[in-house]
């Protein structure tokens, strides 16, 4: 430690003022990167606001203002929007040039360009934040070393965990950039196909014709037999490119998947948030008060665990049918609530042990002995020790919620049509698994597996990273915490 007394009393702020160049540069570049997508970010905020306003059960007082804000947000140019690099176009003759696409490229090339650009953009943002962390460590952090450094180092050398992180990031980008990534949009292709028209070159009449998207969909179905199949990475008869092929009703599977990722993520995060809060609060309270409080939460938790989730979901879906809660995200919120309020006991049990361990530490008694309030003692002296465990189990439970939601949609419960959900695609493709239309069930199925595995892998990685005992003992230790690394 080279810190003089003077240096030690500096705050973070004064350290930045003293050496402002790296920080300024970093923030400037960050703004530049974000500016490319400013319109999309603003648009997202407006859409969230719109969603909230529309949920309000007693009329929509601000609907006009929100609608005008939306039109403003749409007029801001953004790098990755569909308008900048359009991929939907039509040929003017049988083998003629494409119209309406980016630089006259064929739709596949235009879509691929936008797809790659989007992921490159996301990659740049992630890399820029990683670079920012390194800058902070080099220039602004007071300590030369903190335990967090070791956690980061252990995670960065944990290949199974890194695999998980990479797939999770791909999944997150998919959900966040869904409108940009799809070859078409959910609104046009899936939800209201008969409200939109498209142009295509009709070989029979030899001219460009305009038809409803819905009609085009019914002409590009994947039904397994005969000519009724649009497989992965192919065009349909209407000049539309389908990276993952089409669904049995002719809708684009890739678009379905990216919007489905949004639904999965929303349900997963909401359920996780509810579970996390409940599990944390109960873990703190039971560990602090023990005895009767603990016993009653054990009983309540066991009772909740004994409820068959599937039956409860069917019941809730029936009871809340037509209720305004059911209208949010086509029942997605309702599913998230059910998962959240039935899933907390598992998470609570996982963190109860560590919480009890902390509660017997002498500093907790010391805090009590000088009269600290129970809530402050729990928050300040117990919670920091449980957060790490919570992170690990939350990551793993998130995968569980996603697979659970997919299973429900597979059974036809939960998310209503036409909101895309991965399990729905698997269910639709099930009759065609053994035919040439295998892609309908196979691709979503594999993606569910990949994402859930990735969340578990990430959880494993975090667990090994925050556990100092896992250091330098690849498969050597027999501690329970180090097990299941898979590597």
């Amino acid at each position: 430690m080279t810190g003089t007394q003077h240096a030690i009393h500096e705050s973070m702020r004064s350290r930045i003022v003293a050496n402002y160049r790296p920080a300024l540069l970093w923030v400037t570049v960050l703004f530049a990167i974000v500016a490319f997508e400013a319109g999309a970010i603003f648009n997202l905020l407006v859409e969230i606001l719109q969603g909230l306003v529309s949920v309000y059960p007693f009329g929509n007082p601000f609907a006009e203002q929100v609608a005008s804000a939306k039109s403003v947000s749409e007029s801001i140019p953004t790098l990755l929007s569909r308008e900048t690099i359009p991929n939907q176009g039509w040929q003017t003759s049988a083998n003629g040039p494409w119209e309406g696409t980016f630089l006259g490229l064929e739709p596949m090339a235009a879509w691929l360009l936008r797809f790659l650009l989007t992921y490159a953009y996301a990659g740049v943002i992630v890399a820029w934040f990683a670079y920012g962390y390194r800058l902070y460590r080099r220039h602004y952090r007071r300590a030369d070393w903190t335990p967090t450094d070791d956690v980061v180092r252990r995670l960065s050398s944990h290949s199974w965990g890194k695999f998980g992180l990479a797939v999770v990031l791909v999944f997150l980008v998919m959900a966040l950039f869904a409108p940009t990534l799809g070859p078409t949009t959910s609104e046009q292709n899936i939800e209201n196909p008969y409200s939109y028209t498209m142009k295509h070159f009709d070989a029979e009449s030899g001219s460009v014709e305009e038809i409803y998207v819905g009609d085009a969909n019914s002409g590009s179905e994947s039904q397994g037999a005969g000519d009724d199949n649009i497989g992965p990475w192919s065009y349909d008869d209407f000049g539309r490119f389908h990276p993952f092929g089409t669904l049995p009703n002719g809708k684009d599977l890739f678009t379905f998947m990216v919007y489905g990722a949004r639904v999965s993520l929303f349900i997963g995060l909401t359920a996780m948030g509810i579970m996390g809060v409940l599990a944390t609060v109960f873990a703190m309270v039971t560990a602090y008060y023990k005895g009767l409080v603990d016993l009653s939460v054990v009983i309540v938790g066991d009772s909740v665990m004994a409820i068959p989730q599937l039956l409860l979901l069917i019941l809730v879906a029936a009871v809340f049918n037509g209720h305004w809660l059911d209208s949010i995200y086509n029942g997605g919120l309702l599913i998230a609530l059910v998962f959240g309020f039935t899933g907390w006991p598992a998470l609570w049990r996982a963190v109860r042990g560590p919480a009890f361990q902390v509660s017997t530490e002498e500093w907790v008694d010391a805090a009590r002995s000088f009269g600290q309030r129970p809530s402050a003692t729990m928050r300040k002296h117990m919670l920091p020790y449980v957060v790490g465990y919570l992170l690990v189990y939350a990551s793993m439970t998130l995968g569980g919620v996603i697979i659970g939601t997919a299973a429900l949609s597979f059974l036809g419960i939960g998310i209503d049509q036409p909101t895309p959900e991965w399990g729905t695609a698997v269910a639709r493709g099930q009759p065609f698994v053994a035919t040439q239309s295998w892609h309908i069930a196979m691709i979503p199925g594999l993606m569910v597996v990949a994402v859930v595995t990735a969340f578990n892998a990430l959880g494993d990685g975090i667990r090994d990273a925050i556990d100092p005992q896992s250091e330098g003992s690849e498969g050597g230790t027999s501690t329970a915490a180090a097990g299941g690394g898979g590597g």
Binding site: I8, H9, G291, A366, F370, G371, K380
Partner: protein, 375 residues
């Protein structure tokens, strides 16, 4: 013994009065009476020592007073703990919280684990200051630095921003004492505060406690298993064995004239006190786990002077002091100025109400047992 202070007990009301304290731990298998009928009081500016082997119930006594006995432990109803005359037994957790810290506070055995490793020492002292003196920001930092200076930590300003692991053992314990002082207490309970420290640091901490006590007229309950430490700090000593006090005396009287065989055994097992040619004596066996009220002397199995009646009569405290010195022991050998049969009668008579309680026939408010405290 060299720096023994001669404090006269003032006429002022005691800071803390403990009467008939009984604490039980009820588990599925058994009931353990960790504290059985303990009575004592602490006056301002005085240090009361509690000494005994591991497992004799010293720490449970401290935690009972602080209201920190965790489930499944509970303090029985006929117990009384009065702090400045205010009854603490039966208070709710939130009522107790107001007493803790503002009036009395505790210093724990292990200074490493009683400081939270993830916060700076300054942060933790300021936490106590904010709670009890409402100080925030710069003011709190000033006061915290003063407190660290008061416990003889040099370069206090810089030390405030350091973490517990950057402190040495002795400094950590000083920091813990500073935290306790931040509450501005009248009564400080020290639960083996020097056990985890080496002897030179131990001496410094004891010196520090002494200085603070004199400066603030603080009452201290000092718990230790170390007779040497007791000799140095305590004004009065209670010797604890298996949940009971077996002997109570001013410190000099206890060392000069130990009456209970257990106390005598303890003193003989201090190195360097006895004949240098003789082997160091020890008390064979362990402290038994007490279940329920005793109807016998709990020390009898290990007592070199035990006789048959020790198995059937529970000894009461009898005066064994010379003249007006308050010195009592709970042993059937006393009073030794009367024939043994008569002495046994004294114990039988004094103990009969307590036995009734044990059988649960009548819950009584016993006014005779702590008679020696009322002199």
């Amino acid at each position: 013994m060299s720096q023994q202070r001669h404090r006269q007990r003032t006429e002022a009301a005691p800071v803390l009065t403990v009467e008939n304290l009984r604490t039980e731990f009820q588990t599925d298998k058994e009931v353990i009476r960790a504290i059985d009928d303990v009575s004592f009081d602490v006056h301002p500016g005085e240090t009361v020592g509690i000494v005994g082997e591991s497992g004799s119930g010293k720490s449970v006594t401290a935690r009972s007073i602080m209201g920190l006995v965790d489930d499944p432990g509970r303090i029985l109803d006929e117990s009384s703990i009065r702090f400045h005359g205010e009854e603490l037994v039966g208070k709710t957790e939130s009522q107790y919280r107001n007493v803790r810290g503002s009036g009395m506070t505790m210093v724990f055995q292990d200074p490493l684990s009683s400081l939270n490793p993830v916060y700076t020492v300054g942060n933790q002292i300021k936490e106590a200051l904010r709670l009890h003196q409402g100080l925030k920001g710069k003011e709190a930092t000033e006061r915290a630095a003063e407190l660290l200076k008061a416990v003889s930590i040099p370069d206090a300003r810089r030390r405030l921003t350091e973490y517990p692991h950057q402190f040495s053992g002795g400094m950590r314990q000083r920091a813990v004492i500073a935290m306790a002082l931040a509450c501005d207490p009248d009564l400080l309970i020290c639960d083996e505060p020097t056990t985890a420290l080496d002897v030179t640091i131990q001496a410094q901490i004891l010196e520090l406690l002494n200085d603070i006590q004199e400066a603030e007229d603080l009452a201290i309950i000092f718990i230790t298993h170390d007779m040497g430490v007791i000799a140095q700090v305590a004004d009065r000593v209670n010797v604890m064995y298996s949940g009971e006090f077996v002997e109570k005396a001013p410190v000099e009287e206890l060392f000069a004239n130990p009456r209970h065989p257990y106390t005598q055994g303890l003193l003989q097992s201090i190195p360097g006190r006895g004949d240098p040619d003789e082997r160091l004596r020890s008390i064979e066996g362990d402290v038994p786990t007490p279940h329920g009220a005793a109807t016998y002397c709990r020390f009898a199995p290990r007592c070199p002077k035990a006789f048959d009646e020790c198995e059937s009569i529970h000894p009461a405290h009898v005066d064994v002091g010379d003249g007006d010195v308050v010195h009592t022991a709970a042993c059937l050998l006393y009073p030794d100025d009367v024939p043994q049969e008569e002495a046994l009668d004294v114990h039988r008579e004094r103990e009969s109400p307590a036995e009734r309680t044990a059988d649960g026939e009548s819950p009584l408010v016993d006014e005779n047992t702590p008679a020696e405290e009322k002199q």
